[in-house]
């Protein structure tokens, strides 16, 4: 396919992104299949033509791992897809994942000059296109570098750990990746649902790629319990350790009734569904139990994922309950959009105060209070304040608490010499070096719950720092 000059000229003026075909909302709430189908080659090339190939490309500034965005888009324009994916992978080990879950609207795309008048170039969709193109064709395995003779243990197989492990292996180090669960991927596996990030088709293949770089993956090992960090050094003979254990500890509201039957943390709700495949019960053994009416508390990605999962598990009515207004909702724009299309009902400026149980201990309602926005708080967002006397009862039968996660204290508790931040995060400098020599950390365990790409970026930076550190030994 080659486009004539006239068409290209038109495309350069086209104000809107090429839409990405997706499953009809009425259909998709009945299945767990991926919602958007992705661009075909023709659409991708056309969309790529919307890129002006800026000299001083602002989009790159918005990318936490500094992908050469105009570079890979140019290669799509020229239909050199194989070279395009190589260019992308210079900076991003997991493009098929990032193309699907990055909040592009607040990163690269928010900087794109095309966004000033109309919509920005659909950078995320183009990234996904190249990654899927490569996966469909079969991923090329990079050459094995000469072994450095140094051994690094990577703890946690989320995006931070996977990235660090992959990069370190490419530098010639022997890498063992430890994961507490029986499956790799971290939040990508247990948190983000199948309909947003297919597990076998996408995630597993990205993990296989990391393994093909020579990373030795060992699941079912809880560092701090099965092996301590000290033992990794003293008994297992590692020269450095990278900690990428994420923010896996669920926060609860601390209101009465939270331990009733039918109240789930989002972590439990999503883990049962995604990791344990409760949506396939009884073919898969792990069950999940849902009432017809479900309330999800919170408005981040985790909340949207929980709400959309609840619909697919058969809930008839799903409510988001959020104490601030729509402007403050932290979820990706696309997730909120998708949730709305699918019929999730948004109850903003509403805060739960009590969960009410029936005589058998099952949730039968949730008492909420209406809020209004007051002065900005520490986060700079307007502080929600309760409106006196506005309490009302929501007659829901299932409540999912998705108000955030904090770092798991297991490793900090069992490892000496690690200085911690206020919320139990591990302190690390801009290179990922912690306060203990030879131990590096990155991702949600350092930043608190953040994003996939920031975790990957941290894994990348730490891998370089570890490489430098190893050369001093």
């Amino acid at each position: 396919m080659s486009l004539d000059k006239e068409t290209i000229k038109e495309l350069r003026k086209l104000k809107e992104k090429h839409p990405m075909p997706e499953q009809d909302p009425r259909e998709r709430i009945k299945n767990f299949d991926e919602v958007p189908f992705g661009y075909d080659q023709e659409t991708a090339v056309k969309e790529a033509m919307r890129c002006l190939q800026c000299k001083d490309a602002k989009c790159v500034e918005g990318c936490p791992v500094e992908v050469d965005i105009p570079g890979f888009i140019k290669l799509i324009q020229e239909e050199k897809f194989d070279e395009g994916i190589k260019k992308l992978k210079e900076k991003n080990n997991l493009p098929a994942v990032c193309g699907r879950v990055c909040p592009q609207e607040s990163q690269c795309e928010s900087f794109c000059v095309r966004g000033k008048k109309g919509q920005p170039v659909a950078i995320g969709r183009l990234e996904r296109f190249l990654a899927d193109y490569e996966l469909a064709k079969g991923v090329e395995k990079p050459e094995k570098p000469a072994p450095s003779g140094k051994r690094v243990a990577v703890v946690g197989s989320g995006p931070a750990g996977l990235t660090a492990a992959g990069d370190l292996a490419r530098m010639g180090h022997e890498v063992v990746l430890y994961e507490a669960f029986h499956a790799t991927g971290g939040v990508l596996r247990y948190g983000i649902p199948e309909f947003r990030l297919p597990k076998e088709k996408i995630l597993q293949r990205e993990v296989d790629y990391i393994a093909s770089l020579g990373v030795d993956i060992r699941t079912n090992v809880v560092i701090g319990k099965t092996i301590t960090v000290d033992e990794l050094f003293d008994e297992e003979g590692f020269h450095a350790v990278f900690i990428g254990t994420g923010a896996g500890l669920p926060q609860f509201l601390g209101i009465p009734g939270e331990n009733c039957n039918g109240v789930y943390s989002a972590n439990e709700f999503l883990t049962r569904t995604n990791l344990m495949k409760a949506y396939k019960f009884p073919e898969w053994d792990t069950p999940i139990k849902l009432a017809k009416k479900v309330a999800v508390v919170g408005a981040g990605n985790v909340a949207m994922d929980s709400a959309r999962t609840a619909l697919r598990l058969g809930a008839e009515e799903v409510h988001i309950v959020y104490r601030r207004s729509d402007k403050e909702m932290p979820a990706r724009a696309e997730e909120i959009e998708h949730a709305k299309e699918e019929g999730v009902i948004f109850n903003l400026l509403t805060n739960p105060v009590k969960i009410i149980a029936d005589e058998n201990g099952w949730v039968k309602g949730m008492e909420c209070i209406k809020m209004e926005l007051g002065e900005p708080d520490e986060s700079g967002r307007a502080r929600p304040v309760p409106i006196k006397g506005s309490e009302f009862i929501f007659d829901v039968g299932t409540v999912v608490i998705a108000i955030g996660n904090s770092p798991n204290p297991l490793i900090p508790q069992t490892t000496s010499g690690l200085e911690l931040g206020k919320k139990g995060t591990i302190k690390a400098d801009s290179d990922g070096a912690t306060t203990r020599k030879g131990i590096f950390a990155g991702g949600d365990i350092v930043t608190g719950a953040a994003t996939v790409i920031l975790a990957m970026g941290a894994g990348k930076v730490a891998a370089r720092a570890i490489d430098r550190y190893l050369s001093t030994l």
Partner: protein, 283 residues
């Protein structure tokens, strides 16, 4: 993959297995548990570590076949593999520092998990008086093992087929009332109703009483909150804060309700399993 190296049938529904898991064996301490999955689409279930052997690199588990997963586990033979086995999880049991007298109560499914605790008390030089009970004599397990680590062993059955005809609490009551024998600590493991009865029974006597809880779990590392239990008015995660807690502080009503969350689903899973077995389509 984790190999089954020994299998013993202790009673019609109780089985013992030794599993090859050298990393877990190196670390296992009394009071801790493991989580296993029989196969790829199986459920993750917690089981107490009954014993461990660092040299052989094995962990012993003892389980009563109560639901789908334990029944399926029971069908596996020596040389076969479990797809996942992770641990040791939970806090090790704290042993009293001063020598003293401990009463250990194990009922039904609780006999297996009480055994490693009794052994630990015994090895630490404590005097342990044990009471084990079951519905009927055939379900009593580990009698010899328990006897070997206990100063006295009392047996009871609900139907009177062996030992005292009645409940473990009857025997415990006599001990509580016997002022000549001081009890420093009581530890009870068994079905929730039994643990609740014992907690209520010992409370007025002010004797420190511990229970080892076995709530529904998923990850076992503190990331889901499924195992939460109210202890002294605070929410605790059994998998990381427990599984051993002060019996007088545990909210047994809440725990009992939570343990019933999936009764219907457990039944469906079991029926499906038994049906598949009969049709030869199992495994």
């Amino acid at each position: 993959m984790f190999k089954i190296v020994t299998k013993k049938v202790l009673s019609e529904v109780n089985k013992l297995m030794e599993i090859e898991a050298p990393l877990v064996a190196r670390k296992a301490q009394p009071g801790q548990f493991i989580i296993l999955r029989v196969r790829e689409n199986g459920e993750r279930i917690p089981l107490t570590i009954a014993d461990s052997d660092k040299e052989k690199g094995t962990i012993t588990i003892i389980f009563q076949e109560v639901g789908k997963t334990t029944k399926e586990l029971g069908t596996l033979e020596v040389g076969e593999y479990l797809s996942d086995f992770v641990g040791p999880l939970g806090r090790p049991m704290e042993l009293p520092t001063a020598p003293g007298r401990v009463v250990a109560v194990g009922g039904g499914v609780g006999i297996a998990p009480i055994y490693p605790k009794v052994k630990a008390f015994h090895d630490a030089g404590m005097e342990v008086v044990s009471i084990i009970g079951a519905r009927t004599a055939d379900l009593l397990i580990l009698e010899d093992e328990m006897r070997a680590v206990s100063k006295e062993l009392h047996i009871c059955t609900d139907d009177g087929t062996k030992g005292h005809h009645g409940f473990v609490s009857d025997i415990l009551q006599k001990m509580l009332d016997d002022k000549s024998q001081k009890i420093d600590e009581i530890i009870a493991v068994g079905p929730l109703p039994m643990m609740r009865v014992i907690a209520n029974q010992t409370r007025p006597y002010g004797v420190k009483t511990l229970v080892s809880l076995n709530p529904i779990m998923v990850d076992g590392t503190g990331m889901c909150g499924c195992c939460r239990v109210s202890v002294g008015g605070e929410t605790k995660f059994s998998c990381v804060d427990g599984p051993v807690f002060d019996a007088h502080e545990v909210d047994f009503d809440e725990l009992t309700r939570r343990s019933r969350t999936y009764l219907d689903e457990e039944k469906i899973a079991l029926e499906k399993f038994e049906h598949d077995c009969r049709c030869g389509g199992g495994k």
